[in-house]
Amino acid sequence: MGNLLIPLILHACALGPGTDSVSFRNEVMPLLSQGGCNSGPCHGNLNGKGGLKLSLRGEDPGLDWKTLTHGVGGRRVNPLEPDESLLLSKASGKSPHEGAVRWKTDGHAYRLVRQWIAQGAQPDPEGGPRVRSLRVEPEEIILPPGGGILRPKVTAIFEDGKTVEVSLLATLEPSDPGIRVSLEGDRPALVVPAGSQAAVLARHGSAQALLRVWSSAGPSKVARPASHPVDRIVGQRLASLGIEPAGGVDDGHFLRRVWLDLAGQLPPAARTRAFLTDRNPEKRANEVDFLLAQPAFADLWALHWADLLRVEEKTLDPKGVRAMHGWLRRAFLENMPLDELARQLVTARGSTYSQPPANFYRALRDPQTRAEAVAQVFLGVRIACARCHNHPFDRWTTEDYNAFTEIFSGIDYKVLENKRADDLDKHEFKGEQIVYLRRGPAEAPQANGKKPKPPAKPATPARVLDGKSALESPDRPQALADWMTEPGNPFFAKAQANRVWRRLMGRGLVEPEDDFRLANPASHPELLEHLADFLTRHRFDLRALARHIALSETYARGMDTAHAPATQDDGMCAASLPRPLPAEQLLDAWAGVLESPLEFGGYPAGTRTLEVAGIPGPSRRRKSDDMERFLRVFGKPERLLSCDCERTSDPTLAQTLMLVSGQLPQRLLTQSARLDRLARTAPGAAVEELYLAALCRMPTNREVADCVKLLEGPGNRRLALEDLAWALLGSREFLLRW
């Protein structure tokens, strides 16, 4: 007992206002967070729990003090009989508590809070010591292969410079739910399972610090020399963790991968055949350069950005969709620098038909939606939570949110006409609109002709995220664009570089790609710095960065038994990450291999799915055709959110049924020009051509034998070819990009 008292007294001396009084703000409040009391599922809930409502994650100590001392007739804290206080009796389980036991009676939390109550449950006096920042030790650690137990030391640094250890008071939040936090013992401990690569956020009040946990796979090694910076950086990290990366993929595998990643399609069989036998040591680099020069590269990126910018028919109308998509495609064909792209979108104005980027604001029709979308798409930051309360996982306060939103409050529309088909549907706009910037505040329409009332409370002055002062310029979107794209902006370059990495590698260094925050660090921090720096130095040239990544060994890595079963989604880049083909690429791959026509209404024959500006959303007024249904089943998003997460590709039964018994796949097989041709070819050659076209490899001898046997079996040869083609196009080797 004596051992424990000394640290407690030391705490009280430094943290409390007086000589030995316990501080509510600096000691009791953190304990309410540590115990989970003020978390979202418990008393921090919008409606509170069990009649007790605390501020979410302790964001309002003043309010919580009132609630705890004045609520329920003062029974929550009882200075004369501290153990009878509801706060203690419930938390210790002495009184029935749905939240179970949070503070054991012989634990440090119980004792400290009891002491505070016994001292009269006082609030902190004005000007009491405030915590400025937090430090955690170690900041970074490598655990042995079996995992380990960590007892980090957390230190609070006060505004006057004094430091006090607060390990017993801090909340530890691991990014990996497999890591357990134990509050027993002399210090909170993290129980880290084997293989966890995680970040742990230490919190005390509003101060945060990050502890990076790395797990090694074995003793650290010497990194193999690498000339490509990406390989050098990744190699050093993997070596320090004793992780042996998987080997590189063979030529056919590489060809298929790079065609899908840079052009969204499969290489023609003849090209594959030539590539496989080409002896040129530069052939892979040449292929990358060839693909970067194809219009398909622009189509791929136009599609991705059309998803992010909500280019859909109901709000933009079909003409607007074509205009916006066309503009994006041209921008990517001309290799418009990404900062210029961002600038043109954010400062867009004018007619949505003749100034296509204005559709950016046509899709985002109120300041909050604009602010959230801009933050997500350009800065990689999710601020939506801060709309209602201080962001629980990040540093954005509601004030930050309102200040950022204010940048967009002046944007307004002249709806020249709206020939919507459904009178009741106010989401539908059909006709030209002009996006303009209002000078002066909005005027509420007054039916009685009187002057508009001033707004109820003054708007928060417009300020960029992380900005120190309000924006002075009256053209706020312009000021925003300047800030976003200036060198040294902490968000833009990293967010865009991360996006390009993610498109090629299947997982961002920061994942999700629009969730940059302290507690969600990059899996390879130095690599992210390098890529952002590369992008900036190359003046935001998308192709330059894509080329840089595609020429690395890391990009060409495969997988092997050692890496396959483990959770590969740890961003370590030790092996490739399999992912399903996106809907558009899958449909194009089927139609391409089979040489079957796809007809998109309003587009010329031979248009690929990748080139289509958009498909109409589900509506009861018109029946979706089977191509639209196919694409939707395989995850083509409706473009209602500014998030790539809207494209869902989790394998579903509906997808499999579509392949097995769906109408469209069967139609493509029936109408296949290639199969018509192969029906007149020798079976061995037919098998080879199909394998090359679909899987970019030669069949093994055994495969040839078995497939030929199948083709030469009873029944119609053309139908047998269909069945073989179906199997190739439905095999997992085909359906996945790996």
Binding site: G146, I149, C385, H427, A564, L640, T656, S661, E703, D723
Partner: protein, 451 residues
Amino acid sequence: MFPLPVATPLDRRSVLKVGFGGLAALAGGTSRGGAVKGRAKTVIFLHQWGGPSHHDTIDPKPDAPDNIRGELGVLQTRVPGALVSDLLPNTSKIIDKVCQIRSLHHTMANHNSAGYYSLTGVAPATDDQRLRDSRDLFPAYGAIADRFAPTPAGIPGFVAFPHTIADGSITPGQHASFLGKRHDPLFVGQDPNQAGFKLPELALPASITPERLARRGEARKIIERQLGDLEQTALARGLGEQYDRAHALLASPRVREAFDLSREPDAIRDRYGRTTYGQSCLLARRLAEAGCRWIQVYLHPSIGGAKGGWDTHGFRGEKMYPILKNHLLPLMDQTLPTLLLDLEERGLLENTLVVWVGEFGRSPKINDLAGRDHWPKCYPALLAGAGVKKGHIHGRSDKIGAYPASDACKPEDISATLFHLLGINPATEIRDPLDRPLALSPGKVIDGVLA
């Protein structure tokens, strides 16, 4: 390069010493409050789009003034105090099998906002008729049932038919949203009353015979011999499982036959009525027999009109009482009692929970167009079957049916009750796309209806 660890290697003894309390227990989608034993194996949810008036159906007020009582008379039932409209004679005979709730209320006055609420048990942030379906909205009841009380392979958990409902825009709450597409309903958009009604996904294209299907499977096996390490990954395994499930579904006669209404004797088909909704109720019974978990039947794609849903304002010269007399009430009177009696005769009612509810009710006062307008402040629901009281009234409306007089409850209380009866703890947490922990139902189980 980095400092060697200061941590203790993880061994069994240290793990036991350290213990496992703390925040970790709160993270993730864990169930809280203990396990719940379910009484219902199936829920048949009959969604009454447009908003039925209780004054003209099951909670009439014969003693109220004319402009509230309306034109219809009343019938007694076997349940004391329970009257029904005189155009529902068959319904009056089964009121003793049903548990009525007359005190539902909320504040959403628009079809899409209230509709979303009625399909998910979660109120939208605002009463927005423009509420647009997107992945950040709450999942449909059936998707939750499919996720937390799944059916065996080969039997779809969540089935919905025969319409998608909309009022301008498609009403949110009909899909799995952020729970994931795998929990989307098996949706059948065809009319069960038409000849040749079948489920397209479960029917192979005519040219694919079972022999060809088998040959395709064989060919895929040949090709996938080369999968190697890819096969070990979670993604590849998941895809493999989906193939197995698809084949099981195609091979299993059970579900396919359930959809084959031609197997049902004409007499039974006539009893349900040869209407889209009538045959849909029959299909619901067949799917209950096949073992589906959540069967959602939509009355009509539109909220109102001469042959549509319950939205009888009297607009556009479409007067309320003719529509009630000629369409809505006969339809209700033919379908609901038939379904309940049919389930009971087959011994299915003990394990099947039938729910009849709309998105709101209709105003006590008849308006200038001789119709009734939206009224979410007090409206009814009917429950029958597994785990609910028979012949019971929970929660009364006041003298004129304007506000709840006792035991007021909200749509989330209904959802909590339905989950509870399925054996799903309504406090179970799921995470939305913003990673917020949300309970499956924010409401409370209505103990008063439980048997």
